[in-house]
Subunit: 483 residues, 2 copies
Amino acid sequence: MVDVFPWQLSIGELLSPAVVSSWGIGGALLAEASKAELEPLVLASVLLSLITVYLAAKIGGELCARINLPPVLGELVGGVIVGVSALHLIVFPEGAGETGSVLLKLVETTAGLDPASLLTVFRGESEVVSVLAELGVIILLFEIGLESDLKELIRVGPQAAAVAVVGVVVPFALGTAGLIALFHIATIPAVFAGAALTATSIGITAKVLAEIQRLSSKEGQIIIGAAVLDDVLGIIVLAVVASLAKTGEIEILNVVYLIAGATVFLVGSIFLGRLLSPYFVVLVDQLKTRGQVIISSLIFAFALSYIAAAIQLEAILGAFAAGLILAETSKRKELEEQISPIADMLVPVFFVTVGARTDISVLNPLEPANREGLIIASFLVIVAIVGKVVTGFAVFGQPGINRLAIGFGMVPRGEVGLVFAGVGSASGVLSESLEAAIIVMVILTTFLAPPLLRVVFKSDDDASDGAKKEAAIAASPSSETAS
Amino acid sequence: MVDVFPWQLSIGELLSPAVVSSWGIGGALLAEASKAELEPLVLASVLLSLITVYLAAKIGGELCARINLPPVLGELVGGVIVGVSALHLIVFPEGAGETGSVLLKLVETTAGLDPASLLTVFRGESEVVSVLAELGVIILLFEIGLESDLKELIRVGPQAAAVAVVGVVVPFALGTAGLIALFHIATIPAVFAGAALTATSIGITAKVLAEIQRLSSKEGQIIIGAAVLDDVLGIIVLAVVASLAKTGEIEILNVVYLIAGATVFLVGSIFLGRLLSPYFVVLVDQLKTRGQVIISSLIFAFALSYIAAAIQLEAILGAFAAGLILAETSKRKELEEQISPIADMLVPVFFVTVGARTDISVLNPLEPANREGLIIASFLVIVAIVGKVVTGFAVFGQPGINRLAIGFGMVPRGEVGLVFAGVGSASGVLSESLEAAIIVMVILTTFLAPPLLRVVFKSDDDASDGAKKEAAIAASPSSETAS
């Protein structure tokens, strides 16, 4: 009687809106199609999206694990396959162009649920999946913070700062100058594209480091520290460039505010956190109801994430700081065990949606419109890699350190670069080819970094020691499959 | 410089939209305020909502645990306090009346972010919190299924069926007849209100049973079995009544379809599931990447939830069936451990939002407009309790069973009753006073059942044995706080 349902609209091909009117309780509910009545459709489409995300993540991850590539790369590729580039199973309004989505085209050709209701369901589902992905990266950074060693991080602080600053200045200068000199691009768009080359995607790098169990190595801690600082510097650069693009001048006050805010937040939260964490443990020990450790920790992590977002930093910085602080308490081990399944559930949503949002059609050289962008992109990719690889040589006073590993660890740009492309596109500064070039640069650095990182770490693999303790967070099989 | 942020709009009192224009990167982003640019505000407001939900759940739960009431009651009351009845911190578009929300009133009086953008953020946040709550109840029923004993459930099947049928027929007949005879209400609205008395809220009962460690007792399994059947019967009753309200006649085909669908789904999924579950274990054992057990299980649980929703049943029935099936595999213990923190994270969102959506102002007897509703409500509450308490005496062939406990276990109506009120209100069948009476009935049965259930189970507490094995799912403190 009813074999296809309207919520399948949001996953593209499966749709047949002709049966829409048979949905609901005796068809009575959808006639009005108010927000509350569409709620079950949103839930159903979220369930279907999560199933798709998990299948893509697991199949991609397992295949990569078998050919000795990082599983996270498989999750990204799995996301590309189910996303806007191929199957259109996981699409977002901005990717589908909203009016151009498979969903709405089908509605136009068939007479089902009214377009406004369908759009409501699609938007609702996208909103939920987006936020689940963002919660995923928050949980990931919280877990990374929990696995990190604050004392080690402070010890490598000067090296991390050197890596971060070189990794912002070199790609920015090389990129901007190159675009002006070689491609005769005007100053403001060149500065914008140069800025897009700066910020490292901490999520991808940290996940790969965890997978190869190098998160707590000296190289790992320098990379994490530098990536965190890089994130802060990237936000400042974005603020500068966005105001430059908008008004033609730099709002000094805003830049000063951001720098001061970031410093106060990171130093202040860690200082205050260490001071107050014993009280946290006492409080948790007095709770009698289920979930006392995990809920108390999530309140703390979400509160710091919120504060970080509120002072115009990124939420993930707050989550990372919360993890660092709680790692120093006696609850660390219990918390690591409990956060692990939550991370398993939410983190793949982040990586798969990063892949799903990526439109790899801009990489097709057979499309003449792509060619100008691809030539610029080749230049940007080279600058992006070279500009970060050199950062390894900025590390001082650490003889015998794997400089190449640090450099490659800083390569992936991920979502941060896409934010630059999006803001640039919205403010009309970037030409289409330059925007496409930035996207290509982000794709290639993101997808190249995990295998490269693995190769350079493997090169000194036999010399390694003491890097086994983060097995809990790593991609290794569970104890019973391993045995 | 910036101390209050636009996303706080969604949590009412904290707002100052005058600073809205200072949000975003150098103020550049919000000028356009497109969907993608509002994304960080949605995330931030979700974070703030989750913090509020967790604080309400923990404070309420801990206070209840200390005065020996079920923690879940504390979560519901905590929800009422942060919800539409009091603090307005967690509100939903339908509760706030959309145009009448604190949020939009403030926008009218101050000139901040444009109303459309604010509404977008508010709706996005509500959508995400609603779906998280629904995922919470899905995870809860999955966990309940995992803790249940399929063989025991099949053994008590006939008793559970008797309880379910009596618990639908008696309240429906008494309620409808009483409303017509005593209050001279027309037949169709009386039938509708009578129908709203039928469906038990499995979530609340199951949570209380788990908290008092009686889930796997014979009484507990009869209640769970009956509540599951009740859910199915309730959906069928709703379909019948909704079509009656709409067209004045019953769509026989639709009713037959629902009954057949429910039977095929429950019997079929459990039969096929038991047949295929060994292959599931073999597959999971071959996976090499992190989270293999939990992700594979979530795919299975979400798929069954989706199918249940797709054939117009409730998603939670699918989750329960998935739990039952996986409970019979060798992965049960590992899965129970891993689902527990996920449940800790998501289940409170469900209970707090149930409380937050409940408008207790209809209970105020000082408001003359409420009085007619309150008189009808008193009648409905009595019928609701009596009509379910008698179900305990429908149990046959079980000498010495706690019949009162079974009866009280069936009392809470929770969200299912609210769906009836919502559908009735939308289709214009229910008068305002009758709708208010249904809401009052739902509130009182939901809030009365947990303490009543605890009392009647306590009465034979010393005679109890072998009910300790569900300690993992119960509200007891963790091992280290207990010691």
